[in-house]
């Protein structure tokens, strides 16, 4: 579903990704962990070209991202993204946030878009908030709306960029529950996270990144109980 080959990303002279290789299979949940500044968010953002790729190859849902003929807008409808800071559209109600993409891109009419959006909001437990504006939602609710907004395009892959890092601790659980349910349904997911519990419980595979490269990659059981790389050991001893 995703294949990354020797991905490099530099901001000016500063090289953030120094040759990433990774594969994500269909229905797999891959969690990317690592210290801040390790490049894990940049890596994720390269997967839907929110960051232009400096060199290397990325294939996602059957498209070659580095091919100039690729229409990125089509790929993005098939690759959902959830941001650390939610990035809900503040001038739209919850429902309008979710229906914008389906109406403007998939050209769904209002009734159909609305019906689908309501069922998605139900799924994330916020059907009763359909007509309120984001400002009156808690952080956890905002993030669940953001997930519904991404799901509204029926993506084949979901990318999560530290989805719970900006949340108060007591709100993290609700968001993780929604993500867990999504994983159970068979959604392919790449999750950059600091939630080791989630990575252990839901992840099929964990990628540990540091200094712009993949330091170690394994099943959660192996990574967490028997890390091989000294960097991984050092990192995990600090966060666990």
């Amino acid at each position: 579903m995703i294949e990354v080959k020797d991905l490099h990303k530099a901001f000016g002279d500063h090289e953030v990704l120094k040759g990433i290789n990774a594969k994500v299979a269909e229905q797999e949940v891959v969690c990317v962990i690592g210290p801040s500044g390790s490049g894990k968010s940049t890596f994720l953002r390269c997967l839907n070209l929110l960051e232009p790729i400096t060199s290397g190859n990325v294939t996602i849902v059957g498209y070659d991202l580095t091919d100039p003929k690729t229409n990125i807008n089509i790929i993005r409808t098939e690759v959902g993204m959830v941001f650390q800071h939610f990035n809900l559209f503040p001038h739209m109600t919850t429902l309008e946030n979710v229906t914008l993409g389906p109406m403007k891109i998939k050209k769904l009419n209002k009734q159909n878009a609305r019906a689908e959006a309501l069922s998605l909001l139900e799924k994330v437990g916020l059907a009763d908030k359909a007509d309120v504006y984001p400002e009156s939602l808690s952080g956890g609710q905002k993030q669940r709306v953001a997930i519904a907004r991404a799901l509204a395009m029926n993506p084949k892959v979901m990318l999560f960029d530290e989805p719970t890092s900006a949340l108060d601790p007591e709100l993290v659980g609700d968001v993780l529950e929604v993500m867990k349910a999504l994983a159970k349904e068979g959604m392919t997911m790449v999750v950059v996270t600091h939630e080791m519990g989630f990575a252990r419980e839901v992840g099929n595979r964990v990628i540990f990144m540091d200094e712009g490269i993949v330091m170690e990659e394994n099943t959660p059981e192996e990574i967490f109980s028997n890390p091989q790389n000294p960097r991984t050991q050092a990192f995990l001893s600090k966060v666990l």
Binding site: N48, L50, N73, I74, R76, T77, G80, M81, F83, H85, N87, L88, F89, P90, H91, L100, G101, K104, I105, Y133, E135, A146, R149, A150, A152, M153
Partner: protein
């Protein structure tokens, strides 16, 4: 001093200034109307990734913002006539000068408002598959336009006051009318007070309204 006598000039000058008042309003509204169109175009151009379009707009904005409005008025009224043999009446010249002047400032208001929208908004729009144009239209602009309202109101007040400078090209606005009265009566004091009141009648309510709008925008 006879206290009653002191008020007489107010009665004499007020009707003159009222005539000027309507000219001032007309110049401000018409000038700003075209200034807004010009400013929207120049503001968009300043956001453009096309280097030529961007440069033209930048030169326009910098020239206008870097020179005194008095000079711009002289240039439109006398300069163009001397250089290109293009002549305007005082009113037309005032419309043009104010439109060009306010347009540059409005361009920066437009650009600033668009820039002030968090980067994440564009990213979120693009991430669901909107094109750049769609994301601008449905996500960025509706938020940016809201943020333009207070500075545009402010620009209205500034342009209104700047229109007093059109007295130098004999446009019969508030200040010019007042000076005409002074020329025949030498009554500086009461005339200037009346002029000040005429401006304040518009500017004070306007700034109160603006403060209300700002407060409401702050909440949402």
């Amino acid at each position: 001093m006879d206290f009653g006598q002191w008020f007489v000039p107010f009665g004499e000058v007020a009707p003159l200034i009222l005539k000027g008042f309507w000219i001032t309003i007309e110049v401000t509204i018409v000038g700003l109307f075209f200034g807004f169109i010009l400013g929207a175009i120049a503001g968009l151009a300043r956001l453009s990734r096309n280097k030529i379009i961007y440069s033209i707009a930048t030169v326009y904005v910098e020239v206008v913002r870097g020179t005194p409005i008095l000079l711009q008025i002289f240039f439109v009224y006398f300069g163009l006539a001397a250089l290109l043999n293009i002549t305007f009446g005082a009113l037309t010249a005032a419309f043009i000068a104010l439109a060009f002047n306010s347009g540059a400032y409005i361009a920066e208001i437009v650009r600033g408002a668009v820039f002030s929208i968090e980067k994440g908004q564009m990213e979120a729009g693009r991430s669901i598959g909107l094109t750049h144009t769609q994301a601008m239209r449905y996500v960025i602009w509706p938020q940016a336009i809201k943020r333009m309202i207070p500075p545009l109101g402010n620009q209205f007040i500034i342009s209104l006051k700047d229109s007093s400078l059109f007295s130098v090209i004999a446009l019969g606005e508030i200040v010019y009318k007042g000076q005409q009265y002074i020329a025949t009566t030498y009554n500086y004091g009461q005339t200037y007070i009346t002029i000040a009141v005429a401006y304040l009648i518009i500017t004070i309510p306007l700034s109160l309204i603006l403060r209300q709008i700002e407060r409401r925008l702050d909440v949402s």
